[in-house]
Subunit: 141 residues, 2 copies
DNA sequence: GTGGGTGCAAAGACTTTGCAAGACG
DNA sequence: CGTCTTGCAAAGTCTTTGCACCCAC
């Protein structure tokens, strides 16, 4: 956890990003959660914790950190962008009811055949996604 | 192709959906494309082909067909919902520049270990997703 | 006929942008 | 100190909804 924050300071500096309290707060919050929050959800949590943070800043921070490779978007089925501080490939579970995205641990790298990707397409990363109904939603009735 | 349309007629009827020209047109268009269009993209194509179709109807049709299991959303990273007439699990390539989604043929079903999905999570389907830059975008400069 | 479907326009949800004031390095 | 960042408000996308009219069954 603290290692991640220190690595963050280094990498942000190298990317030419100033280390503002807002950026640190957004990143810390994202690292501490594993539910892949949207900008709005991060903002809702942060506005109670630190003085003076705006939704706009959360959006802009996520965009900057994404460009610097410090956070990544996760694949969703809904029209809302969700983020993850784990940037290495891993697997996700997407809830068809609420749209939340969870980490899961499926080993897939060893066994996928990428030889059918057409020419001209450059694969940078990949992930395995499961769809279904999450615990919260299935207990909701 | 024509089989798909006939199957569509049956399944739509069974789901209690009336077979309007608009719904047929949306479904046919989606079947004929493999680039997972958004509602807007479908509408742009259809408004030249059939008289009297509105963007609202395309949205509503996609929602009805999705509920009936005749079309499915595909996972994306951008804030726009994309659809697919292939409802069985398969793999996708998501372009990080333009957001387009392509079908790819990666065999993954035989080899993924789902035993780590936590209790309480019901998996209905799954897919393998690759991210990168698509042919169109990489030739754009 | 009648209940569901359609089209238009307006509203809603999510995200981006312009601009002036402020903070990091 | 200069440049990058922030906050506010306004604008921009994408999607949904209300309502009156229309059509498939």
């Amino acid at each position: 956890m603290n290692e991640k924050i220190n690595a963050f300071r280094d990498r942000a500096r190298k990317a030419g990003l100033k280390l503002t309290p807002q950026r640190l707060a957004v990143y810390k919050e994202l690292v501490s959660r594993n539910d892949h929050p949207s900008a709005e959800e991060l903002y809702e949590d942060l506005k109670g914790k630190i003085e003076g943070i705006s939704l706009t800043t959360v959006y802009r921070t996520l965009a900057s950190l994404e460009k610097a490779g410090l956070v990544a978007r996760v694949p969703t089925l809904k029209d809302k962008v969700r983020y993850d501080a784990r940037v290495e490939p891993h697997s996700h579970f997407v809830c068809l009811k609420c749209g939340r995205v969870y980490d899961v641990d499926c080993d897939f790298k060893s066994s996928v055949n990428l030889s059918n990707i057409p020419e001209g397409f450059e694969v940078k990363s990949c992930s395995f996604v499961c769809y279904g109904v999450c615990k919260k939603c299935s207990s909701l009735r």
